[in-house]
């Protein structure tokens, strides 16, 4: 498989799956204003998904557009990180998942501004404003909840400890990442990892949360299409209409 196509799918699928998960919280936010903010983030991510998948379809050159890539691929063809497919759970889990993703996403987009692939640099430029806001917002809520009440602190720490094992995958360096780095398309994962750990550490300190061990065992496989069992159910719901009425115009 073409490395660039795969790399674009990874970006698009991360945004798509996280957007789908956040959409499921529509009308269920802890407050009206939080509900609006969550759906705003979901819409931002969906907009980014469309840019990534459209470009991926063009690179592939097999006539697949954003819709076909989103709705007619099965689990094994999805390239999202395992983190974004983790269940919504309670609000602490939603915000910690978001914070981990936003932090990585922010540093990646900033690095991609200098990508040798002009289309990728353009997508990063369009996304960076949204992603900057996402990061500020989720970091703010991590501090508020972590340094909030005893109950909110305990929930946040539990979410951090449960989700930490999915953060290492961002920086897994496989043949796709290697090819992209060699072509000047993508940044080196090590630099991203250092920035990620530093930012998470700073926010956790303010949030009075215990930073997990950076060298702890990390789950991996999502980027290569090996997912948890939950993703299949998520796709079954997301793709139902296109599967039932393939090729329908909407």
């Amino acid at each position: 498989m073409d490395a660039r196509f795969d790399y674009l799918l990874r970006q698009g699928d991360n945004a798509l799956i996280l957007s789908q998960q956040l959409s499921q919280l529509c009308g269920k936010g802890p407050a009206l204003e939080e509900d609006m903010a969550l759906t705003n983030v979901a819409l931002d991510l969906l907009g980014q998904t469309r840019m990534w998948l459209t470009y991926a379809g063009e690179v592939e050159g097999a006539g697949r557009d954003e819709d076909r890539l989103a709705y007619l691929r099965d689990v094994r063809a999805f390239r999202n990180c395992l983190l974004v497919e983790q269940p919504n759970g309670d609000y602490a889990q939603v915000m910690v998942r978001q914070f981990f993703f936003d932090t990585w996403h922010y540093f990646l987009m900033r690095a991609l501004l200098a990508s040798s692939d002009r289309r990728i640099a353009e997508i990063a430029e369009k996304s960076i404003k949204e992603v900057t806001y996402h990061l500020r917002r989720s970091g703010d809520l991590v501090v508020r909840l972590g340094d909030g009440t005893e109950a909110s602190h305990a929930r946040m720490q539990a979410a951090v400890d449960a989700l930490w094992t999915y953060t290492g995958e961002f920086f897994v360096y496989d043949e796709v990442e290697r090819a992209m780095l060699a072509q000047g398309v993508a940044p080196a994962p090590d630099a991203l990892r250092a920035a990620f750990l530093q930012h998470v550490g700073e926010v956790f300190e303010e949030a009075t949360l215990r930073m997990p061990d950076p060298e702890a065992y990390m789950q991996r496989g999502g980027k290569q299409g090996r997912h948890g069992e939950r993703l299949g159910y998520l796709l079954a719901e997301m793709q139902f209409l296109q599967r039932a009425y393939p090729g329908a115009e909407w």
Binding site: L32, E33, M36, N40, R137
Partner: protein, 94 residues
């Protein structure tokens, strides 16, 4: 203390707007989140806007019952209204 988040009034100056206009209100635990929420609820993130939030409790309003006493005296005295001066074109926004 009430468990409900306090009410904030939101004023927004749009990109080409001259002044902040009251656009509505929202609930938020503090000023920082009120600004964040106002951005999500009222601005759709148009660039170049300015947001003011103020606790509704900090606003003092005139009472409708005082309307006559406050505003009526000048209505019948046209000489109090500076409407007889020709205004230069340049200040049409005044």
């Amino acid at each position: 203390m009430s468990k409900e988040w306090p009410l904030w009034e939101v004023f927004i100056r749009s990109q080409h707007g001259l002044a902040h206009k009251h656009v509505g209100s929202l609930h938020a635990p503090d000023a920082g989140m009120a600004v964040n929420n106002a951005r999500d609820v009222y601005t759709r993130r148009n660039e170049g806007v300015s947001i003011w939030v103020v606790k509704a409790a900090d606003i003092v309003a005139s009472s409708p019952a005082d309307k006559d006493a406050l505003f009526e005296p000048s209505n019948s005295k046209v000489y109090r209204h500076p409407t007889f001066f020709p205004m230069p074109e340049e200040v049409k926004n005044l």
